[in-house]
């Protein structure tokens, strides 16, 4: 494969697609598949055959189109008409009315000028809903692997690192460390063997950002990793993906095979000296394996338990070798940065938090689904414009970001810009992209209890504060919720939280108390209302005598 071959492939595919008068894009991501989009596909094909349109209209399975709560979704190209809640009857109508009689199916049409679409900005998800994730040619037709070609044939590794650094991209896994700096550190470590690892062990409850990218645009991750491999001097990459994502695993396997067949992975990529391979490693369902040192041990085939840092993986990672570890969404940003330049990327978002962020919008909100917004957008815009606000008759109370490591942002801070620093200034974190909206019917003690329940179950048990502390914090929350706790228990709860936060070994334990601390900060009254005064000494004559049992 040469750069010319790649261009030729792209043109061939573009021409192939142009032959069709229409392309019907049905959502083939896990959400829509689970509510019947495969039946919709079959009906579309059947109806097309009946109307003799099978040769001129293509039916394409594509990645997540965002409005997951209204699926299955079908998009008609080139018009761009988007249909929601498509069942077999509607599928037939799309063919018979939209395609044949040219009258859109009004009942199911979505207004794409709605802020849900208009306020979004797609970089990571640009191909989701646009290409067939299972065809490498479709990815190549939308400039896929062009960035890798450019990097390998025109740029020095140091230039690539510098380009990523200048883009201002920060780790999308949650911590927000500068991606360029991280790449620079791994590049500078002297070693014959280095590794590039993609953390696809997305485990926050309610989060499905990474899954959507892996299912909808797997080649983007492979390309990002290959570019990273070239930049840091690694020849081997691993994607650590959780077993609960079977569709993502299937598509990644296929994508790797396709890329290898075309020589986009393997030896002498684009006729250069650069060799790069990617293998999958499947996680076995432990949340803690999203922690980098635990993830590395898990890849090594050992028990997934974190270890103290330093040394950091960039110095001693997989099998003791320098290892670059980034999140799915981080790698997904790499190809566009190379293609369009760091200046373009750095201009998006805020000066310190550049680019976009994908959020999985869930909870008490009208439009649930996957969104991608420029950094710095206000929380209010996400909740009320994109999300459409809370359901009829309820009031917005708080937005939870960062999952079990994050916090709740109350209504008073609705105008906070969504960027790394601003979110932590209000006691939450950017996190990996879970966003759960709560309305006046939500009980904040229950919210804290839910996340603590999750953390205690997912604690690996290695260090004492996390192993035992989370159990006691959860127990205290349970007692508070049941009205059995006293005013003495609240200081104990706070002390335990601070202790677990400050003394735990890894990020899981260090951030586990955050949901409690942040709800205590903004909704302390909801805790206090549930507490009793402890019994004390009562001198005789000052009370009514006790009734004997």
């Amino acid at each position: 494969m040469t750069v010319e071959d790649l261009q030729e492939l792209a043109e061939q595919e573009q021409q192939r697609q142009e032959k069709f008068t229409n392309r019907l894009m049905y959502c083939a991501a896990a959400g829509c598949v689970s509510c019947g989009s495969i039946n919709v596909r079959d009906m579309l094909k059947k109806a097309l055959a009946e109307k003799n349109l099978a040769a001129t209209v293509e039916v394409v399975g594509t990645g997540c189109m965002g409005l997951c709560g209204e699926g299955p979704l079908v998009k008609v190209l080139p018009e761009g008409t988007l249909y929601q809640r498509v069942d077999e009857t509607v599928a037939r109508k799309i063919v018979e009315e939209h395609l044949v009689t040219k009258t859109p199916v009004k009942d199911n049409e979505i207004d794409t000028s709605h802020p849900f679409f208009a306020e979004q900005m797609k970089i990571v998800l640009e191909n989701c809903g646009r290409i067939d994730a299972e065809k490498i040619e479709e990815y190549i037709a939308v400039e896929g692997y062009a960035a890798l070609a450019r990097v390998v044939t025109e740029m020095q590794p140091a230039e690539v690192v510098e380009e990523v650094r200048k883009s201002g991209l920060r780790g999308r896994g949650g911590a927000g460390y500068s991606t360029g700096l991280k790449w620079g550190i791994v590049r500078k470590v002297q070693s014959d063997t280095k590794y590039v690892v993609c953390n696809a062990d997305e485990g926050d409850p309610g989060a499905f950002m990474d899954r959507s990218v892996l299912e909808g645009d797997p080649h983007r991750i492979l390309e990002g990793m290959a570019i990273a491999g070239y930049a840091v001097g690694a020849q081997q990459g691993y994607i650590y993906v959780r077993a609960e994502y079977p569709l993502a695993i299937e598509r990644l396997r296929l994508a790797i095979k396709q890329a290898e067949r075309l020589g986009l992975l393997g030896n002498r990529i684009f006729d250069s000296q650069f060799n790069f391979r990617i293998d999958l490693r499947i996680g076995a369902g432990a949340f803690v394996c999203g922690e980098e040192t635990a993830l590395i041990r898990s890849i090594e085939g050992r028990r997934g338990r974190p270890r103290p840092r330093p040394p950091y993986p960039s110095e001693k990672g997989l099998w003791g070798m320098p290892t670059l570890l980034n999140n799915v969404e981080t790698y997904a940003n790499i190809a566009p940065i190379i293609r369009k330049g760091s200046t373009w990327f750095a201009a998006i978002g805020t000066p310190k938090s550049t680019g976009t962020k994908v959020f999985a919008l869930a909870g008490k909100i009208r439009n649930t689904g996957l969104i991608e917004v420029p950094m710095g957008i206000s929380l209010r815009k996400i909740v009320f414009d994109i999300g459409g606000g809370t359901p009829e008759g309820t009031e917005f109370k708080a937005a939870q970001t960062g999952g079990p490591s994050g916090g709740c942002i109350p209504a008073a801070h609705l105008d906070v810009p969504v960027d790394y620093e601003s979110l932590s200034s209000v006691g939450s974190i950017m996190g990996s992209g879970g966003m759960i909206v709560m309305d006046s019917t939500s009980n904040m003690v229950d919210v804290a209890k839910y996340f603590m329940d999750f953390c205690k179950d997912e604690s690996c048990g290695k260090c004492i504060p996390c192993r035992v502390g989370t159990v006691h914090i959860h127990g205290l929350l349970e007692r508070i919720a049941q009205g059995k706790a006293t005013t003495n228990d609240l200081p104990l709860l706070e002390e335990l939280c601070m202790m677990v936060k400050e003394t735990s070994l890894c990020g899981l334990g260090q951030s586990a108390p955050n949901p409690v601390l942040s709800t205590l900060r903004f909704f302390r009254n909801e805790y206090e209302e549930l507490l009793q005064e402890p019994a004390t000494f009562v001198p005789s004559g000052t009370d009514t005598p006790p009734t004997t049992h």
């Binding site: 338990r305 103290p308 502390g469």
Partner: protein
Amino acid sequence: MAIVTLTIDGEQLSAQDNESLLEIARQHKIEIPTLCHLDGLSDVGACRLCLLEIEGSNKLAPACTTRPMEGMVVHTNTEKLKKYRRMIVALLASEGNHQCSVCMVNNHCELQNLAYDTGLLYVRVPYLYPNKVTDASHESFIIDRDRCVLCTRCVRVCHEVEGAHVWDIAGRGIDCTIVADLNVPWGSAESCTSCGKCVLVCPTGALVKKGESVAEMEKHTDFLKYIVTARRKGEWISIENEEE
């Protein structure tokens, strides 16, 4: 390897940069409580008792796995650290069934000593009263998992010194337990050489010798020093050795 100067609790010291802060402190008679650490075994940084405050860092660092840096200013015994250590011991006490009065290592127990050293008057969190499997199937030894503090010394001594790797951890979170081989009764664990090193290094009454009575058994860990003298100094804190 280089020599660095640092300050621990106001004392100016010089040390080799491949030693741990714990080794350096102990060389200078500065006491830092530990539980999972044992001279001669790799360090895992799990018990969090040896956490230190380092000026300029917003995170507490475990003495056993942290190496010195030039100009480092370390505090080993601040009010915050004392409080956290006491809470950690309280969490351990709440996690198991540590009835000292009927324990074979009563008065010779590291957990007991930690409770005294940290001034643990009572345990503020509710006791959890676990019911894990006590296994007396081995001809010479007993494992009482309800007295186990999961320090993994037994796992490490068996893997790193005896080379048998009988012990490992099963389960996660509060359900973690030490298991023999692939979770078989200890007596039928084929890899066990009955060397008894795990019993000697166990800080509590979780691993004991049969035939001893309450408060009779004393543990001795000195033997490790002689066995592992062949190892280079400083190697004990290297993470790569950790094989639990």
